[in-house]
Symmetry: C2
Subunit: 247 residues, 2 copies
């Protein structure tokens, strides 16, 4: 009898809960063994989202970084740690294929270091193109030069791959700008929505983000929903996702 | 009677305790509002040092970063948070003048961003020197370029100012190298000792640092003391400092 009712609960949970994949925190790209270029993100919003969805009964996988804020452990919450864009790419692809929703809140590095050289060396060079194909051999790049030059290359735009990996996944992206008008923010969010085949973009401005307060616009093709706190972002996204699923 | 014996204890503490300044963690230099170049350092060793010295009765000031590991609060421990080299310079100068010892364990950025530009723009420029005097106006530097170029300039070598600020302070510096021979490590540490008029340099190799394990050499002019753990570094430095004071 006990075994039977336990099974019933499991079946019910499977029906109610969805498989939600959340990314959170900021990636870091190594310059050498002691320095990185880091994208700032405390991971607080992603942590709140992971907690909220898992408490409501969804099966949540959170991809985040060592330094990011993390939610408390739960049986229906799995946490995977990554550091850089390459880790993220490798970790995300198989998970996107096995989840119903991706909430991609991670601040992903746009560029990654290729080569660092003394300014004089760069200034003397005939063809700067050559630096794009070099690699520092030292574990810790040292220099006494007054100026240095770091060459960086664009990282893959991971959000643009998601619908190719899994055309049926619901894709929720984020767009963070700094000190722009509401019009510009919504315009950039709408372009990201179309370009990445996303279902919803959470558009926010760094100037509007505090510990509790977090003004944002949830931008869909035909609708914009303003929200004011991280908790409200979690609630609104939860309703959005579970309403869509019911349709 | 109670008041009297309390006063006696206080007097005893003042004689026994020393004013120790410790720096710990890694500085971050902003590229823009969302990205920084960060020097890796958990702050664990500095935290252990601050705890050890304050538990032994010294009056400790710890300068560290928001993200670094910190010791538990104590009445004889003051913590000041900084982010970048410039903050450190401003915070450190007055404190060096009022402390007897500086243990400078912070991983300080050697270079700070000046200007970021698209690779094509840099390639086309007649004189690269001009980029060293430009400043990005955007709060978030955006680009669709395949490659970018970041110009960086050397930061002030803070450790070299310490004895000018306070000639009587005991200066304990750190030298971190990556994957070098013992000979090279000791050689670089000795040069730092002389160049910065330090009293002792803790020389360590990233390859020898773990959570508990932390192989290092305490390098003085005429002596090298090998140690194996963070706790041992704390004990050895404590004896060194308090033995010197007693002389």
């Amino acid at each position: 009898m006990i075994t039977f009712s336990f099974t019933k609960i499991q079946v019910f949970d499977t029906i109610k809960g969805m498989k939600i994949l959340i990314t959170s925190g900021g990636t870091s790209e190594k310059i050498d063994q002691v320095r990185s270029i880091t994208n700032h993100s405390t991971g607080q919003l992603g942590s709140i989202l992971a907690r909220y969805f898992s408490e409501k009964g969804d099966e949540v996988t959170l991809i985040t970084t060592k330094k990011a804020i993390k939610p408390e452990a739960r049986s229906n919450l799995t946490i995977q740690l990554i550091e850089n864009v390459n880790d993220l790419l490798e970790t995300l692809e198989p998970l996107v294929k096995t989840h119903q929703v991706l909430i991609h809140a991670m601040a992903v590095s746009d560029y990654t270091p290729v080569y660092m050289a003394d300014f004089e060396q760069v200034q003397k060079a005939r063809d700067l193109q050559a630096f794009l194909h070099q690699e520092n051999q030292e574990s810790k790049i040292s220099s006494s030069s007054d100026y240095q030059v770091l060459f960086l290359k664009k990282t893959p735009k991971i959000i643009s791959y998601v619908k190719d990996w899994n055309p049926t996944i619901s894709l929720i992206g984020f767009k963070l700008l700094v000190d722009v008008s509401r019009e510009e923010l919504l315009d950039v969010a709408r372009r990201s929505l179309i370009h990445n085949q996303a279902d919803l973009i959470v558009a926010n401005d760094l100037a509007d983000i505090g510990t509790e307060q977090h003004r944002a616009y949830l931008v869909e093709r035909d609708k914009v929903t303003p929200v004011a706190t991280k908790e409200e972002i979690a609630q609104t996204l939860y309703s959005y996702i579970h309403r869509r699923k019911a349709l």
